[in-house]
Subunit: 399 residues, 2 copies
């Protein structure tokens, strides 16, 4: 299989040939049956069948590994993927205090994961050096040629302008403001680079591999040291005209409240992030506490830690209730480190949402109710989504 | 031109023949040049040219009337429309205290407009009788055969469930809750019926004929006796899983505030609708005041009326600022009766939006700024949008 050929097939626009449409669908979804491909591409079954035969003959498409197939009556449909040997994708997260890297192949298998902790305010040059080194290690550890690298996806802790691809006034990573990540990464990797905000990437991860698979419309809501999220509409992550869509943490829920680092007052994040609660917990236990510590203690019955989580759920539910009133989504995926608290967070969050949103569950039939579920990925969602950006051919330039 | 033939062409799904794709584009947009058609449909220019020649020969497509073409150097492109004789569309608004009807032809020309005031809580049977009578009058006045009616679009003052097409718990028109408008209108008109919420229809009107033409992403925000709106993403009005997307008036901006008719507390509508201000103005002037009265007095320099409009703009701007933080749209269209105040409302509304939203205009370049503009239609937006629903083949079943 020729890597260049696959790159060309993936680069063609959606109104392309049947071959291109099938390859793009497999790239976006991982493994699919012929019937699923026909449905997704809108091509006739006979066209799909003929094209797949050609693609299998030339080694671009192979049968997917059998694991994970549902055991059931009857012969299961043959699942197909792109040939994992045809190419790899690099995903990187440029976070506030960490850099993460994932190498995956075009069949959606993850080959390597690496991460390092960083001091705050590291420079773009530092980031690209570290990501290059981590990638080199990953390829070396698994004895895979870097020549097969098809593209680099970057998730960054700040809004990305969808028009010029530059980091917008970056409250989270201030030294990066005005940088075009493609300019920084392009010359080093010599491959196409796509970049998006970390929460938008997290949504891509959930729709590609997680609980939002098959959902074209959902909201991702992250509760962590900050509050953020993303809106997916019609299968597309909304970026906003300045890259700021989904910045739920900066809804000014109390215009007379305390000043926020964003320049507004009373932002949701000031009340619903877990930052202040960590300070309370640390005082209570006389040692520095992490979110994981608080969750663990709450799980083992500590009433104080439970209350801190419930209070966060109550105020987060007010903000989320307003988001529900505006978007009325079929699905809300709860992400961020606090999602690891599971039902300790989700049960009071659902109750608060029900209280504060317009459409009450009890008033509509089951099919019209918003489902609130825990995300599948809380730790690696953004870096995984960066891989997804490349596989799905998404990134900047979507408003 | 055979009406049945056109109906068939319009009913085919989007992956249809070149003929169907061209006819659907003309139906949705009104008049287009051959070059615009090629761009919109993705068809080759030669295919468009050949198909148009066939459609013109058979009388389905005609040259658009010359008026409204920009005078400029060079020969203007020939604009084409569907043959106005090929069919008509009926749009109806079922409002709180009024029913409106518009008859338009498939070239997007408006043939007749009618409206009647109603007592509150009129029944579906009353509504359908009145709409049928108004339509009959309209066809008779203009000596047009009703046989050419291709479809009926209905805008209703309540959320429409996108799954089953029924009126959701309808706070505005309570007696209609649970009704499927298609069941009521279908047997009377014997034509396809599409139905959507009045604010969603208003957004369709602005994108079809108004200030949002050519915009695939925008927010409509209505300030009137209530507050409402719609979100358009990727050229599609978001309906929400229960038909409640865009219900901006019921964002609970103060969870300890007064009880709202929707069952929440402190909804935006309680502060930003013009209802309370009308009571204040009526006391001040010792006579019942309408929004038009207040606007007229404000325009002629009455400082009290100006302040009432400014106060509404300030609080509406807080809510709109939160919507901006969540959606970060390229364009916000201000509708509703209060939009008739023009800059008296819009200037303070923009200032309040800038204060309360995350992305400040001054921090981003011009291309990344949210534009806030007055809608083109404030009085007939919903009924016009009901016509648009049919011409654009939209309506229920979009989430």
């Amino acid at each position: 299989m020729n890597k260049i050929e696959l790159t060309t097939l993936l680069a063609e626009d959606v109104s392309g040939t049947p071959t291109s449409r099938i390859v793009r669908s497999l790239s976006a979804r991982g493994s699919l049956s012929a019937a699923q491909l026909a449905r997704l591409t809108g091509l006739a079954k006979s066209t799909v069948s003929q094209t797949l035969a050609d693609l299998r003959r030339s080694g671009v498409v192979v049968e997917a590994a059998a694991e994970g197939r549902p055991a059931g009556a009857g012969r299961p449909a043959t699942m197909l993927t792109l040939n994992p040997e045809a190419g790899t994708v690099l995903g990187a997260l440029i976070g506030l205090r960490e850099i993460k890297v994932i190498i995956a192949d075009v069949s959606h298998a993850i080959i390597a994961q690496k991460s390092v902790l960083m001091d705050e305010d590291y420079s773009p040059a530092d980031a690209v050096d570290i990501i290059r080194d981590l990638a080199t290690e990953g390829y070396r550890d698994h004895a895979i040629s870097r020549a097969g690298l098809m593209g680099v996806g970057v998730a960054i802790a700040g809004p990305v302008n969808p028009i010029d691809g530059r980091i917008q006034r970056a409250s989270v990573v201030p030294t990066w403001a005005g940088i075009d990540v493609r300019d920084v990464f392009g010359p080093v990797f010599n491959r196409p680079v796509v970049v998006d905000n970390e929460s938008n990437c997290a949504a891509v991860a959930e729709m590609t591999w997680g609980v939002a698979q098959g959902h074209d419309d959902f909201v991702l809501f992250k509760v962590d040291a900050g509050v953020g999220g993303a809106i997916v509409s019609g299968g597309r992550v909304m970026t906003g005209i300045a890259g700021a869509a989904g910045e739920f943490g900066h809804m000014s829920i109390n215009p007379d409240g305390p000043l926020c680092r964003c320049g507004n007052r009373g932002c949701l994040e000031l009340y619903a992030s877990f930052r202040d609660n960590l300070a309370i917990a640390s005082r209570r236990f006389g040692r520095p506490m992490t979110m994981d510590d608080v969750i663990l203690l709450a799980e083992s019955g500590d009433v104080g830690c439970r209350r801190l989580i419930e209070d966060t759920a109550e105020i987060a539910g007010h903000g989320l209730g307003m988001i529900g009133t505006i978007i009325n989504p079929p699905l809300i995926v709860i992400g961020g480190r606090m999602a690891l608290a599971g039902e300790l967070l989700l049960a009071p969050l659902r109750a608060s949402y029900e209280k504060h949103t317009l459409v009450k569950s009890r008033d509509v039939n089951a099919a019209s109710r918003t489902q609130i579920v825990k995300g599948q990925f809380t730790e690696n969602d953004s870096v995984l989504g960066a891989v997804g950006l490349v596989l799905r051919r998404e990134g900047h330039n979507r408003i």
